[in-house]
Amino acid sequence: MRQLRLYLEFSRKAFQRSAAYRFDAWTRLFSNVIFLFMWGFIWFALYSGKGDVEGVSFESMLSYIVVSQMLQGVHGAGTPLWEIQERVRTGDIAMEMMRPYDYPTRSLFSDFGNIAFHFLTAVLPLYVVLFALFDLQIPTSMSQWILFLLSAVLGYLIRYSVELTFGLLTFWLMETGGVEDIFYFSISLFSGSVIPLWFFPDWLETLAYFLPFQGIFFVPNSIFVGQLTGQALIEAMLMQGIWLVVSYVILRWVWSRAALKIVVQGG
């Protein structure tokens, strides 16, 4: 309980700090919107002259892109991989290691603060307008909203665990950029952030199904646009839950190893 108060304090501080760097939030949002339009036009072109593709209408697809871009806007406010690398590079990781708290948890709670600020001041207003302006599909029932939110939160936690795990590999591979490339490649392809898994060739879809990444964007996006319902929805969310547990356990294991391995630069 006392611990939770401590971590929430970091959320609060991160929220305040974000307020001091408002400009960052707006530039991030700007690039987010650029990408939204880019993907919108690409899908528009791909759909031109066709009705449904794989049983999905253009309207659904567009909604998928918009909600996906919205979630990515939220995710963008927390960057655990970049942060851990930066802390190791500068040696500031030492300051985190000599505190009576757990770094992965405190970093997560700091991100909650960043996200809350970014969401309330930038992402939410923009996307409310977008959803109102364009006639897009949104959840039609309360339960669909709740399932979407729950799934989106699970997705965020999965990404956090996987991303920080990749970031911690920096402890072993101090000067190689390869680790992060693997992460960024995998998340952009397998998470369904821009291409829904239903458009994948079968073998790739099967592969994606057995990776944690699809739980990050694909599942909540699909719930949002109504492509995932009933039995399939329950299975998908169960899968998200399992992936969260697995990736969290791996994160803890890698962290405990990394903490012994750490070499602090400077001073």
Binding site: R2, R5, L6, E9, F10, K13, Q16, R17, A20, Y21, G91, D92, A94, M95, M97, M98, R99, P100, Y101, D102, M174, E175, A259, L260, K261, I262, V263, V264, G266, G267
Partner: protein, 328 residues
């Protein structure tokens, strides 16, 4: 058993050799060569509760590496460390509650927050009671004049202010042990003195055990009865300060700026450096006084300016090597 026990402690760093070219990069994926750098080698000492010990040595001696192992940030390559009965790297969080740490080269405060908010965050981090927090803040503010920069973000503080803030921050949770890694580095004379006074007070009035690393002899002379001298990762001397000073601290350096470049012929002193009109003369103050030396020089040339230097720790260590002696 002291409050801090260090037994045969060693630390090696492995530095990956960079391989040349493309082929090298590919090869390094499979096989890497490392250079081993021994930063701390077979160091042992024991420190009693309430002691204030100077951990002293030239740059690169292994001081920071030792401190990092005592704080639990680094895992030893060999040997044992216990701090307040804990093995720091195994019980890092528990250890964190009983120690305070200041790294002179790096702030522990949150860069973008106003100073006071960093303190408030630490209050939460260490679950410090309102009463304890207020009491400590009052004391520290009075001695260190923290109120001058409460609202200033840490990144905008001067070095002196930052050190004051940092040392106050390290003591907020009433740690039993304080590690100070170069707490006076880069500070001006006034700021150094203020820092030393504060450290001394915390040690004497609160009984906090202090380990202080520095390469500034004046810090040690002012603060520590005991010093542990290390060089190239090894303990060269562990004991009282007076013995070292008597033995090696007798030399002084006279720096003179002459009117014009002159070949000086002085007795009882050695010309150790010469840069144009500026000359460095080393002498033993038991053999010749500064006044006698200055007189000798002034006969041969007009002196524009002069200053006297106490031996730096580096030169003391060099002297220890030259004379092939170890004390203690």
């Amino acid at each position: 058993m002291g409050i801090i026990d260090v037994n045969h402690l060693s630390k090696q760093y492995f530095i990956a050799k960079r391989q040349e070219g493309m082929w090298g990069a590919v090869r390094s994926l499979f096989h890497r060569e490392y250079i081993t750098k021994t930063a701390v080698e077979d160091v042992s000492f024991s420190i009693e509760a309430g002691e204030m010990v100077g951990y002293i040595g030239p740059n690169g001696a292994g001081k920071s590496t030792t401190i990092k192992m005592l704080t639990g940030i680094l895992v030893p390559s060999a040997g044992d460390v216990t701090v307040g009965g804990l093995v720091p790297y195994r019980e890092r969080q528990k250890n964190a509650r009983q120690i305070g740490v200041v790294f002179g080269q790096r702030s522990q405060l949150w860069w973008d927050l106003p100073t006071i908010e960093s303190f408030e965050l630490l209050k939460q981090v260490y679950a410090i009671s309102d009463q304890q927090y207020r009491k400590n803040m009052d004391t520290f503010t009075e001695i260190l004049r923290l109120d001058e920069f409460y609202q200033t973000p840490v990144r905008q503080l001067s070095l002196g202010q930052r050190m004051r803030a940092d040392i106050a921050a390290s003591l907020l949770h009433d740690p039993a042990i304080l590690f100070l890694d170069e707490p006076t580095i880069g500070l001006d004379v006034v700021a150094k003195e203020r820092m030393r006074t504060f450290i001394q007070e915390m040690n004497q009035e609160r009984g906090i055990t202090v380990i202080l690393t520095t390469h500034d002899m004046a810090d040690i002379e002012r603060l520590c009865k005991r010093m542990i001298l290390i060089d190239q990762g090894r303990v060269m001397y562990d004991g009282g300060l007076s013995k070292i000073r008597d033995r090696f601290g007798k030399s002084r350096i006279l720096i003179v700026d002459l009117e014009k470049d002159t070949q000086l012929q002085v007795q009882g002193a050695e010309l150790i450096r010469s840069e144009g009109n500026r000359k460095w003369l080393r002498f033993n103050r038991e053999e010749i006084t500064a006044a006698q030396l200055i007189q000798q020089v002034s006969i041969q040339a007009d002196i524009q300016d002069l200053s006297l230097e106490e031996p730096e720790i580096d030169s003391i260590i060099r002297q220890m090597y030259e004379e092939g002696l170890s004390v203690g």
